[in-house]
């Protein structure tokens, strides 16, 4: 098993080295030109860029990230339990394992259903349905 993980680490190292390698080869063989101010301007369809691009953005992206983390933790937790289901069935304990695993998933599913019914999954807040937002 050790060789497997060492090889995987080699994959990470070699692919990480590839990027500077390619850029380095380019730096060696290309003609050196002095850049100009206009050339290095941000490309906004030929218009002069107004201000910086670093603006505030929609909070929905943040909510998506939070919901993602919660489901991510759930999936990560349930992965090892899932690997046991097959052997549990082979031993005739499939029912117990089934209940244990799907109680776990079902509880969180109820959270998803709650969000869905209350319209929290709508990208445009509260616009899609008649449910009034929180008073």
């Amino acid at each position: 098993m050790e060789t497997g993980y060492i090889t995987a680490l080699w994959f990470i190292v070699i692919s990480a080295v590839t990027v500077p390698l390619m850029l380095g080869i380019g730096w060696l063989i290309r003609p050196k030109v002095k850049g100009s101010e206009l050339k290095s301007q941000a490309y906004e369809c030929g218009e002069q860029p107004v201000g910086e691009a670093w603006i505030k953005f929609n909070i929905r992206f943040y909510v998506v990230a939070i919901i993602f983390i919660i489901f991510d933790v759930e999936v990560a937790t349930v992965f090892p339990a899932m690997t046991l289901y097959k052997s549990a069935i082979a031993q005739g304990a499939g029912g117990i394992a089934f209940i244990k695993i799907f109680l776990f998933i079902g509880l969180l599913l109820s959270g998803l259903v709650y969000c869905w019914v209350r319209g929290d999954l709508e990208w445009i807040k509260g616009a899609a349905q008649g449910i009034k937002p929180r008073k």
Binding site: W10, L23, V33, V64, D72, I89
Partner: protein, 378 residues
């Protein structure tokens, strides 16, 4: 059957040497002979396929049928002037392509090219692919943010939100396979999808997972859709929507930096297709034939080649479908995208998971093929 990692095979075929050298060499060979050339050649195929769909000729100048176009492109990109846009954050601007390339290329480590050519058949196989590909999302977000361009930032934010959201349906569509196989190790998952009705351990082979039960069939389609979204392909190409965001998160990346993003994207498409092949479409197996139980014992090198061919045919067909969809479907809106993920794919994937578990329980872990051929469960 005997499985051996690429490093072990190299050691056996060459007859010695310390294992870590072969491990490093196998990583080098898979990245430089499969991942990167595929990424380059796929750009040519993509253009040729696009041309065919639109009744054009496509690239036809460099080499016969324009086959060497990708080499010309590579030379052009490497030799191009390299500049960092004014006001960009240089450090993050340089770091971003690296994260994308590492995230995409490292995942090749566990792709089951053949039972003798797996880079690393690690115990957490599928989980490794899922986890290492998450490096792509910070890469895209940082690249877009660091280039100080409004189009880029919009594209990058969309990209990161989309990639993280669709990771959930992808993971949930992988779970039925974990239920069926009882392991995360890809080599063993693929091995179980073989076909050997006559063998004494026939219960261990349940043919392709996609035909294991009706729920798995749906799950494989969901995995494909999720993979499209993870790789920012049409109809989920909002992060780099040409008609609204110029080129999205990679607008300010030129020359080889853009080339690395493109390589990373195509490598990811290969990884996603390869993962679908390995998990649902039988991986290296030839349908209805078990190379290990033939009447003659084939040399391992020949088996490796045949299996590599089979795996490539399946994976590249999926890549072709990805390219085909590009000229078939319109792009989604952001709200449709998120709605489809949380209200469409996630509930469906959970239903599949539930259904697969019930099927396993009812039929004692037997697949549809095993039921039809009357093979006893374990």
């Amino acid at each position: 059957m005997d499985t051996a990692s690429f490093a072990h095979s190299l050691q056996t075929w060459t007859g010695g040497g310390p294992l870590w050298i072969w491990a490093a060499l196998s990583a080098f060979l898979i990245i430089y002979l499969i991942a990167l050339p595929f990424g380059g050649f796929a750009t040519y195929v993509e253009r040729k396929v696009a041309a065919d769909f639109q009744d054009r000729i496509g690239p036809n100048r460099v080499g016969p049928y324009g086959l060497l176009q990708f080499l010309a492109d590579a030379v052009k990109m490497i030799a191009k002037e390299d500049f960092v846009p004014a006001g960009a954050d240089r450090f993050l601007y340089n770091l971003a392509p690296l994260l994308v390339v590492v995230g995409a290329c490292s995942a090749f480590a566990v792709l089951p090219l053949s039972q003798y050519l797996m880079g690393a058949d690690v115990n957490i196989g599928i989980f490794y692919i899922l986890s290492i590909s998450t490096l792509v999302a910070p890469g895209i977000l940082l690249g877009s943010w660091s280039s100080n361009n409004k189009w880029s930032l919009l594209g990058g934010l969309r990209g990161a939100a989309q990639i993280v959201s669709y990771e959930i349906p992808v993971a949930l569509s992988i779970l039925p396979v974990v239920l069926i196989s009882g392991t995360l190790q890809i080599g063993s998952i693929v091995e179980q999808q073989g076909w050997a009705p006559g063998a004494e351990n026939a219960a261990a082979y349940h043919f392709w997972n996609v035909f294991h039960n009706p729920f798995c069939f749906v799950a494989s389609i969901l995995l494909f859709i999720g993979g499209l979204a993870e790789t920012n392909r049409i109809p989920f190409d909002l992060p780099e929507a040409e008609s609204e965001l110029v080129s999205g998160f990679n607008t300010e990346f030129s020359g080889m930096r853009f080339g690395l993003y493109a390589l990373g994207e195509f490598a990811e498409i290969f990884v996603m297709s390869g993962m679908l092949t390995a998990l649902y479409l039988g991986g290296w197996h030839i349908p209805f034939l078990n190379l290990d139980s033939l009447f003659v014992k084939l040399p391992s090198g020949l088996i490796a080649l045949v299996q590599l061919g089979m795996f490539s045919i399946k994976t590249l067909s999926l890549v072709f479908v990805v390219m085909w969809l590009r000229w078939t479907l319109p792009r989604l809106r952001v709200d449709q995208l998120m709605g489809m993920c949380w209200k469409g794919l996630v509930p469906l994937a959970l239903i599949n998971l539930f259904g697969t578990a019930v099927w396993m329980w009812l039929f004692n872990g037997r697949s549809l093929a095993q039921l039809i051929f009357g093979i006893a469960g374990h």
